[in-house]
Amino acid sequence: MTFITHDLAVIGGGIHGASVALFAARAGMDVVLLDKGALAREASGTNAGTLTMQMTRAALIPYALKAHDMWVRAPEWLGHDVGVVACDGLSLAFTEAEEQLLAERAAARRTAGAPIRLVSSAEATRIEPGLNPSLRMASHCTIDGYANAYLTGVAYRRALLEAEVALREYTPVEGLDPTGTGFSVRTRTGVVAARQVVLTGGVWIEPMLAWLGIHLPIRTLVNQLSVTERTTPVMRTVVGIASGLLSLKQFPHGTVVIGGGWQGTGSRDTGHHTTTHESTVGNARLAVHAIPALRATRLVRSWTGFEAETADALPAVGPVPGVPGAWVSGSVHSGYTSAPYIAHCLVQAILGQVPDMPLFPIDRLLVQDMPAATDFTKNGTEH
């Protein structure tokens, strides 16, 4: 048996891994992409798809703006449809405390470059007639929108094959050994050899980094979403609230997706996650409070997905310290939105270039001693 040594092995085929693989292959590298399941079946295929500045951490706004522009031009670089719609976004305040929070957050995000301004309730209801008129204030962003996240897998799959990436779905990686000149990627069905590796395992970047003796604690959030049946138009913008605990939009086919980071339960170790009654009802109440017409709809489905969070809730994107040729990328807040641009910057670094915007090296997050892998899921707190 002869081994092909790939230039780059990407381990984890979510939006981050798939984008890195695509851009690296387009830049001429011979890339293999491995996933334990099918492409984009974890967070990247099940998320709410909101491409928003108003839920993005201020420090990530410059990346999210660049990425938003990429998403709008997805047909040019991805070549396949993920249903991107660009529209206005509104974040709402119904109480005095929320007004204060909204003002503060809008200011920070505006400073970071997002075109956000505060508007009166009258102006907000002109922009979005579906709103509950009892709102006190809103922040309005002209750069917002959404993608249809469940199309991520099929769109990227086509693009990756066209770019001649070697796709290895349903191939869980079990370990990684530096060989001096590269890496042996161990799978149940054999070893894959590559000169460089990128770990893009979503919440599983913690166990992946452990293969290299690195301990980066990752909190596992279990985000929950619900969707209504197809209904007549009830809204035309992306709607959230000041705290960030609501995200709402109506897709062109008429369903409304309700989210905002309400927590379900689950465990990264078993891979199992599920909704909770409290979160389903709480999130639905908040949604109906914001868009009262939703009261007349039916809820057809709720589901959950894992989102990764580092200790400082900022990304883990950069070289793996002490292991030349190994890279990591994940734990990006509102990580669907920013993924294509972050991947673009990371691929520049992998190619030995200076990235257009700085990466988020993980040295700041490392824990020296190495206890058993942490899984915060049990007492999973909201974010």
Binding site: G153, H253, G261, R295
Partner: protein
């Protein structure tokens, strides 16, 4: 609001009602939940109209008896109550006209019954095409059957039952299109003989059909329904010769057996095995109906299709097992009280197997469905689209759903998932792969207004804000 009990029973059909009655008799506090307006389930469904009440038959009598026994018992019967979520422990989330409620108990019997399967054919979504099971529901609840020129098609005892009852209602079918051949029925007779009373009922049905001179086309199926806004005709194909015949009709009742309504079994993580004879998948349980999930018991068609009488016997055993595990029945009393039901179940098994064999879904025939046939009717996904998605790399049902929206509509895959899996399995998909959608709440669409009730904004437990 949460109500507590010793035992929750979901489904007030033969299985659930017997489970509830047995456990109540043993002294447990039992709550019996069903979304239907009255207990009885599918087979002993309560009549809703005067016409239905006056058309008394054996099933009506059994239903009335069952409801009478429930009324006289201590069982808390909560009809009109739809269960949309369940977590181990057990907590059931419900909605009803009274709003949202929850029920909690350390033990739960699932007796959720079955869903009908229909083998898709061109035009099966045309108005005027109904399920066979829907026909029985219409006749039982309303005492009538829609259509004047009707055709009854599909397979199994339900086919004969619907045709016979249609004759009795003065609308003899223009034809019975039976997927099974005469030989299939003949080889079932020895199994049917295990339940002489039921065999006799079946023979009476046949006599009525013969008396009404309804032609029976054996070994045939429907390949096409014609008509735009209403049904005009169907094309019947003889399976052996391939010869096609056009039959005029304004209404078609068609059904290809049943499959367990096991969404909640799966949501709770009960172990299952593939079992084509029992309708697709069967929930594993021991002889006392305990599933793999501690405290969870399963009975009736929801755990594997057996029919009404075995379901009732399984229900009784499950209810008694729950009472025994609760400490309310000694081992000896459990053995004594369940002996009759166990004997019945054993006796009826040959009958059940014979019926199930006639009802077994013709998986192989999914192979030759025309490409433009709709599989997912909620989202209008055709066989060709499934084939294209497979070409694009979709090799399980969750992926297929993402690629095509199949199963994302209000039926949530109840009507299409098994058919789609059947189509996909034939497209070089790894045989061992699990071809089912991940179970998710709500198990049925819920009215938003009932789900959220009335609330004040300040009462919404909004989690702490995300980091800035």
């Amino acid at each position: 609001m949460t109500e507590f009990a010793d035992l929750l029973v979901l489904g007030a059909g033969p299985a659930g009602a017997e489970a509830a009655l047995a456990a109540d008799h043993a002294g447990l506090r039992v709550v019996l939940l069903d979304e239907a307006p009255a207990a009885g389930g599918q087979v002993w469904r309560a009549p809703r109209t005067h016409a239905a009440r006056t058309r008394s038959d054996a099933d009506q009598t059994r239903g009335r008896d069952l409801r009478g026994r429930l009324d006289a018992s201590g069982v808390q019967v909560r009809t009109g109550t739809q269960v949309w979520d369940a977590v181990p422990g057990f907590c059931l989330s419900c909605v009803s006209e009274r709003g949202a409620t929850r029920f909690q108990a350390p033990r739960l019997v699932l007796a959720t019954g079955a869903t009908e399967r229909v083998r898709p054919f061109a035009g099966w979504t045309t108005p005027g095409v109904f399920g066979l099971a829907a026909a029985t529901a219409m006749m039982k609840a309303e005492g009538r059957l829609a259509g004047r020129n009707i055709i009854v098609a599909g397979q199994g005892p339900l086919l004969i039952a619907v045709a016979a009852k249609a004759c009795a209602m003065g609308v003899p079918p223009r034809a019975i299109v039976d997927l099974n051949g005469r030989g299939d029925w003949l080889s079932a007779v020895s199994g049917f003989a295990a339940a002489p009373g039921l065999l006799l009922t079946g023979l009476k049905w046949m006599a009525r059909i013969v008396a009404a001179r309804v032609p029976i086309l054996h070994g045939a199926d429907i390949v096409r329904a014609l008509g735009d806004d209403t049904l005009d005709a169907v094309i019947v194909r003889d399976r052996a010769s391939g010869q096609e015949t056009r039959l005029a009709a304004d209404t078609l009742y068609v059904g290809n057996g049943l499959t367990p309504a096991d969404e909640i079994h799966r949501l709770l993580g009960a172990a299952q095995v593939a079992d084509a004879l029992r309708g697709g998948y069967r929930t594993l349980c021991d002889a006392d109906r305990r599933s793999s999930v501690p405290g969870l018991y399963v009975a009736g068609d929801g755990a594997g299709v057996h029919g009404a009488f075995p379901s009732a016997a399984q229900g009784r055993i499950a209810g008694l097992a729950a009472a025994h595990d609760h400490g309310a029945l000694s081992a000896a009393d459990f053995a004594r009280a369940s002996r009759h039901a166990r004997g019945q179940l054993k006796r009826l098994m040959r009958f059940a197997d014979a019926s199930c064999r006639l009802m077994q879904f013709p998986e192989d025939s999914l192979q030759d469905i025309r490409g433009d046939t709709v599989i997912c009717r909620c989202e209008d996904v055709t066989v060709d689209q499934i084939r294209a998605a497979s070409g694009d790399g979709a090799c399980d049902l969750n992926q297929l759903k993402h690629f095509t929206r199949l199963g994302m509509g209000p039926c949530q895959g109840r009507m299409c998932a098994l058919n789609a899996a059947g189509v996909l399995r034939r497209l070089a998909v790894d045989a061992g792969r699990d071809l089912r959608l991940t179970p998710r709440a709500p198990v049925r669409p819920v009215e938003m207004a009932q789900l959220i009730g009335t609330f004040a904004y300040s009462d919404i437990p909004v989690p702490k804000p995300a980091p800035l």
